[in-house]
Symmetry: C2
Subunit: 187 residues, 2 copies
Amino acid sequence: MTIKPWKTVESKYILKDRWMTLRADRCETAEGVIVEPYYVQEPCDWVHIVAFNEKHEILLTEQYRHGIAKVCLELPCGGVEDGEAPEAAIRRELLEETGCQVGELVALPPMSPNPARYANLIYPFVSFGTEQIQEQSLDATEDISFTFYPIPQVIELVRQGEFWQSLHVATLFLALDRAGILKLKGV
Amino acid sequence: MTIKPWKTVESKYILKDRWMTLRADRCETAEGVIVEPYYVQEPCDWVHIVAFNEKHEILLTEQYRHGIAKVCLELPCGGVEDGEAPEAAIRRELLEETGCQVGELVALPPMSPNPARYANLIYPFVSFGTEQIQEQSLDATEDISFTFYPIPQVIELVRQGEFWQSLHVATLFLALDRAGILKLKGV
């Protein structure tokens, strides 16, 4: 069976400010059914990194996240600015959030954070030889701590639901797979 | 360093319909900095499933996703209705989308789809012995195909960026880990 795309019959922006760009579309399915309003968000693209240090530990950050109203353990991450390459964005974010610098970046396959609701992409990276070279440089609203964790501890945090930012869990496993640390057994 | 939560000083709904509930908060950080507007979305909770058949193949669906405007390969998934248990929701969604029934459900740790923007949770499940017992039963706007894929092929689709719905990539790896199929090497 071939799945057919919808047509966008009409499209208008209902919110567009520094924090959110939200569009309401009038769509038509291949069978001619009208879907309206279909909301699509257009954030900037996002970048994530699994940054290993020389001991093969992974750099995690901790910050308050107001959507879920909890302090969350995460990967270093951020947004790609206009005209910026994803590689430059993740180096900039990492330096701002943790003062750390990484060597060569390995780009993992881009992912969609939620293809039903978002028009943007996630660019995940993995890198080795992470070193802190300067102090953090945070915005007035940011309060971020960071620590290197051994891989088995990170996996245990995922299993216990303590590292639970789903987009970052995806990047973590992609990176462990690319680094040759994950193995499929019995298949 | 202990990361402190923000206070919500004021909160108002700016969109509330069948498709989206969007709140704009006025927040105050622990250092007294005002953050406004901070947008939070409150969708229903979401459910995902890695449904293995007797041959240890994984059930994937394909449908058009208008956020990214592409046909996407995904896990069976859906929304939890008011008063519904996540277990009941995933059984219902699986039956509607694919006509398949599963045996015992193993609940994986809940995740946040994006703790900065969303107030809801994802409840991921894994199950074995999936069998098609009836025809699909889709809404007028839904057009979903489904196929069982061998595990190595699913992993290859992830590596190639063809199975790229980030929330589902997270659930896939959690499920493979819980099923004892993923091993950590050399750590």
